[in-house]
Symmetry: C2
Subunit: 556 residues, 2 copies
């Protein structure tokens, strides 16, 4: 675990400090004498791309977006040497979820840079000879990266979100499957340059998933959307879900997979339909009224030409507002018995986090228990290690909200406060988090929030509708086979209950994975055992109050 | 001088290192016991602006662009505490030219950030009771900042310039006077949103220069263009030029002032025309075929309403290709006798720099003596101080070019090489620079380049047409009253001869002030006396080969 901690700390540290040349160590949880060392060099640069036919600058790794996939066997060591060629921008890469064999991802965790395309998938395999505990074996292992795509650059979107009056970034222009989408160029008007948007550009031909008839495919699916919750499906083919966020699940069959930003899944698909034609693979927006066309890929049966469109219309997907179906799927996902650790039966502490949309001095923000988080100029870990008490609010962050709060209505007073306060947890203690959703500042509206925890997995003990009831809901917790995840949806007007062990020394973000919500303060920080973390290196000194720790034995 | 050096070093260092929180010391050359200390706090942030009616993100200081003017008396100390609120970008501010009382400017010197609007003027006054050595006194002291404005963001323009095939950034969309211009919104087509471009937006009403009839005004004029060379004039009013780049000039009267990117001038203007009307102040593009409408401001005679347009059409300005007129004005500008130091009569070294446009591996670049400069990952000063020889090319940069080179034709072989090599100068020696222009890669085309030297002023010994002739041109040098400047134009197909004393310890950029030319390698570096510079502070260690100097006495 400490290596994950080191990794995560490096990432945090780089967000604060590094400029033009970053060396990142990605260390798997279970170092093994037999593990191989993989060395990669990634050049990060701006590149014009036509992901959805519309010409737009993207941030690419070695020229491509999504970036190169990382393949590793459990126990391997990955060293990525990142060369930042962005000229004017820093880069920090977050190795999202990395703990054990399974499917993970990486993405930029710097400003709103993630949505410029700086992300990719991480596929961790079991050592040779160890079979995956799936209901049936698969022949091929493939991956699918889902994302949404804005035409405005992150600087504009950040300025919008921090404007008075508030300017919402709006719905994305396109949905992408493996970095391919299709924008309706005619929306640009007749004066638009065909160089800027051209539907015939081969660069934006839909992604192709080629299968050999009769074979079984494992698809590792990752959602890196900025905003959207998705339903993913493959026309005419059911999927057997076998893994989520890197841990095994009790296999279940579904026609469509709901996937939220920050989540990963593995599904098994049998290519046993009529092999003389191709099929559609689609994503469509759920939980928000869609204003973006569905994303399409071609599920191609070899030897049909992969450019041949299916003879059918793309399947419509579920209704965007069918909340029940989404909650049911959330409830369906259980850990595979014997392959996932069980949770402690009791907890040491319960933290309730009311999710609300608020105003602070005229700015729009998101808050937890009426506190919207702001990050201090001084990195927390250094402040904690060096006992600098004046760089963040030492009052503990609030752990509950008023029992009178009506989660079904717009608050009468939408004002919140901004704070740098954190939650300090006893090391190795067990902590429950009750995420409680509520109405936004818009009548009859409650948004879905995918919550992501750094540095730990958590058990998902339950989901429910309405207000969490401490008397009746705790008893219904699934303590038998709850799934372990690092990202979990909080459904509209509902609650989600999580349990985790604070066994990773450091200070860790827990945040909504919707990029604009995170930008607007929708995060908390959990500290535990930070005294066990080794001294921060000199190279990390320089910002905020850490200046005083710069070693100036050489005269300036 | 060492304080200027310190200042400049800080700026360079910040380009390489600093991230989110920068403290900049701007120290005037002549510290004085009586000098006051001015403390400023500048918050740098992205803001939507309508500088030319078109809605575009600009980088503002305390909400405004151009940024706040700095006013100081010779001997004062200015401390600027810069708070970087750009979220995803670093900031480095270059205090352009600062040496003595006069008119200077500051601007971003980081990537292509300058042209997002991060710049302003610096006005240094003589101590109270010391009159300016002008031909007649003035009543009021005002400033005018000239710039050009692109609608594409710097990320796009940087990607364009480094694309294969090369994509030129094109001419700017607007010319700005004190941050105001007027874009022809109808070019956006009928579908354009009036929120995006609206000529009636008061935010883009032309700048107003209000004068009281009969009074005399000193205008301090600075050009911060990205690309354009300008002619500036005030309809019906002549100007008496009295200062250039912070040093006094022999006063001369002109109808229009040619001003190149990076230059500053002071002119005196008498408000003695018909006071019942307003007049136009205009800038228009010279030396490139204009594709941008002239920039307009209102020269407003009080008490006429300042929104009242003049009854006349804006004056057309000189022909863009009247090179002779521009060279003549360059030749007219002489130092004011007795107020500007004279140059050494002889030189210790002559460096000839042939300015050419080239290709390197299919990329378009600008070169000096066929070498296009690339900056190493390790800061030069640290490499020099620590004797790290492998981080930049130790071969001296070339100081001449083949005598056979035909400056009037497109080169048969346009290939150049890229190098990190520098020019090393003997400390306190006298160095001549002959800037030699040539044809670009386009037939019958030679561009104007404004060259700017960091850390020093130079004497401008002469300008000439065609190829510099060492036998005949040296004898015509003006050693009597050459002006001292920090920025000087190199005219099309011509040469410019400069002399300076290498009396400022450090390593100094000398570069074309056209932002895209600089981006494409049009720079050299002069080192002298770097051994006299004190040790770089620990905070500057971290990039490239400097990592090894991080003091890790505290275990990582």
């Amino acid at each position: 675990m400490s290596e994950v901690s080191f990794l995560e700390r490096m990432t945090r540290v780089m967000i604060m400090f590094e400029v033009s040349c970053i060396l990142i160590y990605l260390v798997n949880e279970v170092p093994s004498a037999e593990g191989r060392v993989h060395n990669y060099t990634w050049e990060v640069s701006y590149q014009y791309k036509y992901l959805d036919c519309y010409k737009k600058l993207a941030i690419a790794i070695n020229g491509i977006t999504p970036g190169p996939a990382i393949y590793a066997v459990q126990g391997d060591t990955i060293i990525v040497n990142v060369v930042n060629n962005l000229v004017m921008e820093n880069v920090a890469i977050h190795w999202h979820g990395i703990r054990q064999p399974g499917t993970y991802m990486y993405h930029s965790h710097y400003g709103m840079q993630r949505e410029s395309g700086l992300y990719g998938i991480i596929r961790v395999f079991l050592p040779k000879g160890q079979p995956e505990p799936f209901p049936f074996p698969y022949h091929y292992d493939r991956h699918i990266i889902l994302s949404d795509w804005y035409h405005r650059n992150p600087y504009e979107r950040a300025a919008n979100l921090s404007s008075i009056p508030f300017q919402w970034v709006g719905e994305p222009q396109s949905l992408l499957i493996n970095g391919r989408g299709k924008y309706n160029c005619s929306l640009l008007g007749s004066t638009a340059d065909s160089e800027v948007c051209n539907l015939k550009n081969p660069a934006c031909f839909p992604a192709v998933l080629t299968v050999i008839p009769g074979k079984i495919y494992r698809y590792r699916i990752a959602s890196l959307t900025s905003l959207s919750s998705f339903s993913f499906q493959i026309e005419g083919h059911s999927m057997t879900v076998v893994e989520a966020d890197g841990t095994y699940v009790e296999p279940f069959v579904t026609q469509n997979l709901y996937i939220y930003s920050g989540e990963t899944y593995s599904v098994l698909v049998k290519a046993t339909q009529d092999p003389t034609r191709n099929y559609w693979a689609t994503v469509n927006v759920v939980s928000r009224r869609p204003a973006t066309p569905d994303g399409l890929a071609i599920f191609n049966y070899y030897p049909n030409h992969f450019h041949k469109f299916p003879p059918t219309k793309p399947p419509p997907g579920p209704l965007w507002n069918d909340a029940e179906s989404r909650i049911n799927q959330s409830l369906t996902i259980k850990a595979l018995k014997g392959r996932v650790e069980s949770p402690p039966k009791t907890t040491d502490r319960v933290i309730v986090l009311l999710n609300t949309q608020n105003t602070i001095d005229g700015y729009y923000r998101w808050s937890l228990n009426n506190v919207s988080h702001s990050l201090p100029a001084t990195p927390y870990l250094i402040a904690l290690k060096k006992s600098i008490s004046d760089v963040f609010d030492q009052t503990p962050a609030p752990e509950s909200y008023s029992p009178d709060y009506d989660i079904f209505s717009v608050a009468k007073n939408t004002n919140a406060t901004s704070s740098t306060s954190i939650h300090r947890l006893v090391f190795n203690s067990t902590v429950d988090i009750i995420l409680q959703n509520a109405n936004t500042m818009t009548k009859n509206n409650s948004e879905t929030h995918p919550w992501h925890l750094h540095g730990h997995d958590f058990w998902v003990l339950g989901y429910g509708s309405g207000k969490f009831n401490n008397e009746t809901d705790v008893g219904k917790y699934n303590l038998d086979n709850p799934i372990m995840k690092n990202t979990v949806p909080l459904h509209s007007y509902g609650w989600t209950a999580l349990r985790f062990r604070a066994d990773n020394p450091g200070i860790w973000l827990f945040h909504c994975h919707i990029e604009s919500h995170f930008f607007m303060g929708m995060m908390v920080l959990f500290e535990s055992g930070s005294e066990m973390v080794s001294e921060p290196p000199q190279a990390n000194m320089g910002c905020g109050a850490t200046k005083r720790f710069i070693d100036n034995t050489t005269p300036a």
